[in-house]
């Protein structure tokens, strides 16, 4: 299998409710089906992205879904535990210290710690090896929504700015280096053809740039292709409810066109996913979206 010239860590983010999980699941499924060993990482989401493909929701343990596809829901408590155990290697010390209610309260008061250990786990998976090669050909990160995503992805830098040299600062440093290397990490911003998600995507792209993450593509979800001509809408004057329906459709297509134009100015390809009318998601639907995304990313028509 040939390694594609694209980053191994694909960070999917966007405004809440735009379909980040769908895009993450679709991308992971398509990558796995193209023969690449793929890990879908959710972040304390309850495993919803995995469930979209018809599998049981991802849990905190790595689970093999099918073929080359694995998934995990990275949760703070488990990630903390793994991280600490990797440092101190003694289960009993872990229990004595980290399951002490007072210490737990102490640690909870440092909110970045949760983000750090969760992001740390994702980065750790990136480093996993399987013999001479990396274990994962691709890691798809279903990242939190805009504000939280920028906090999440900015955690290493904040730590570097905040912490004196020490163990955590060292961790923060290699995590940051991994995230800002365009050969390793690329971000996909998911948007909808509506004002707020488009504006937020533009701000998000700026925020990612400020954190030196490379923007791989913008995914415009729920895109509507033009259908009604202006004259056709006018011709329905005698049937006001049908005219409203046609006008509504034409406006959606217009908003899609407008969004493509504005998002296109971000300097990354805009990949359109068509609006679906099924109401529920199944694996076949997710797979078809994934195939489109992958073709788009690879610059195929």
């Amino acid at each position: 299998m040939t390694q594609l010239p694209r980053p191994r860590l694909l960070v999917v983010t966007g405004k809440g409710g735009v379909g980040k999980s769908t895009v993450s699941a679709a991308l992971a499924l398509a990558l796995a089906r193209s023969g690449q060993r793929t890990l879908l990482c959710e972040v304390n989401s309850g495993g919803g992205a995995t469930a979209l493909m018809g599998y049981p929701p991802a849990g905190p343990e790595l689970s093999h879904l099918d073929g080359e596809l694995w998934s995990v829901d990275v949760r703070p408590a488990e990630a903390m535990r793994e991280y600490v155990l990797s440092k101190i290697r003694f289960q009993r010390v872990y229990h004595a210290v980290f399951e002490n209610p007072l210490v737990r309260a102490f640690l909870r008061f440092v909110p970045s710690l949760a983000e750090t250990v969760m992001l740390g786990k994702v980065c750790w998976h990136m480093r996993e090896t399987d013999g001479p090669r990396k274990r994962w050909d691709a890691v798809v990160l279903d990242a939190p929504a805009t504000g939280h995503a920028l906090t999440f992805l900015g955690v290493p830098q904040v730590l570097l700015d905040t912490l004196p040299p020490g163990t955590m600062a060292e961790e923060a440093s290699w995590m940051r280096d991994m995230l800002v290397d365009p050969a390793v990490t690329g971000a996909l911003v998911v948007a909808l053809p509506e004002e707020l998600p488009v504006l937020e995507s533009i701000e998000l792209a700026a925020g990612l740039r400020a954190r030196h993450l490379s923007l791989l593509a913008v995914v415009l979800n729920q895109a509507t292709a033009p259908r009604f001509l202006p004259d056709e809408v006018k011709a329905l004057a005698a049937l006001p409810r049908l005219q409203a329906l046609a006008r509504g459709h034409a406006e959606e297509a217009e908003r899609t066109r407008d969004a493509v134009e504005r998002l296109g100015a971000l300097g990354a390809p805009v990949l359109e996913l068509p609006r679906l009318y099924t109401g529920t998601m199944d694996q076949a639907t997710v797979a078809s979206l994934g195939t489109r995304l992958l073709s788009g990313l690879e610059g195929r028509p």
Binding site: G17, K87, L102, V103, A105, F106, G147, Y277, T280
Partner: protein
Amino acid sequence: MRPLAEALRSRGVVVCVGPGGVGKTTLAAALALQGAALGRDSLVCTIDPARRLASALGLTELGNIARPISAAELRAADVRLAAPVEAMMLDMKQSWDELIARSASPQQRDRILANRFYQSLSSALAGSQEYIALEKLWELHSSGKHQLVVLDTPPTAHARDFLDAPARVLDFLGTDTAKWLLKPALRGAKLGFRLVGLGGNLISRTLSGIVGGQTLADLAAFLLAMSSLNDEFQERARAVSALLASEETVVVLVTGPAAERREEAVRFHRSLLEQHLNVAAVVVNQVHAGVAPEDAEAAARLADPLRGKLERTISEANSLARADALGVSALREAVSPTPLLTVPRFPGEVHDLGALWRAGAYLVTDTASEEALAAAAAALGA
């Protein structure tokens, strides 16, 4: 009367919670307008409104300053209110600074504001937004300037992230934890924190091994400075929790109709109830309406290509409406006996005062929501 009309008329605080992207800010503003229409002097406190929504509300900048929504613009949008309504945009960083300034002596204050942990706490780190939003709510409510305060909240996937915030602060600053962690320092003559100096203590040794000794010492210095505000904080956090749980407050859970949202909403709802909050209603926003059968028949009588295009559009609209209606009825059953209200999806986006007003009507009047349901049901039967 609709449960939300009842709440707007009689309660002092409405907190809108829910995941991102479901129109929470919009509905919070719509509820404040309806509150004012019911004669209550109202305020909507928003977190991060869309620009056009912010400008419709007369908000041009952050800064924790409540500004009246322009009477002229309300008139122009044909919104008739019986009491004034104001809006504000919450500035997280400023709210933290104000909280510290209010609680600390000038000397303490400077020490806290200069500490790098404080600077991260108030600006960069996740989790503190939730607490400060609730803290602000308490302040707004207690000032007594408004009869009704509607709070929009940061989007959270988990209700606990948000509603636990005061408890978390309390928990940490609670006597046991604080005393235990701070005891050595409080005993020591110097301010320099001694958690690290606990000597052979396994816990402190392990913690320093993980986060670095200096980090722990710095964090401890911060906590020590904060602990001088311990009583203030405890009292305030307790007051915030008490306000949330009181009869004065109702919570409105806002969600969307998509199937993927349903389980999330059910979980959210359950955890609100577990915390003994008064959940006034679950609101499903942006529900698709179907096309009436007679309209479909009218389309069928037209000539192609218009007929084909319309039929395709009608079938898509009905698919969406059918899926939404099924989802809404499943959710309604799952959250029962909490009332569930639906707000239809409006063509375009709800940004101007007129649209906010129309959306709000679905939350407080008996008929509007029923009509939306009837339309969805018609589509189901079609």
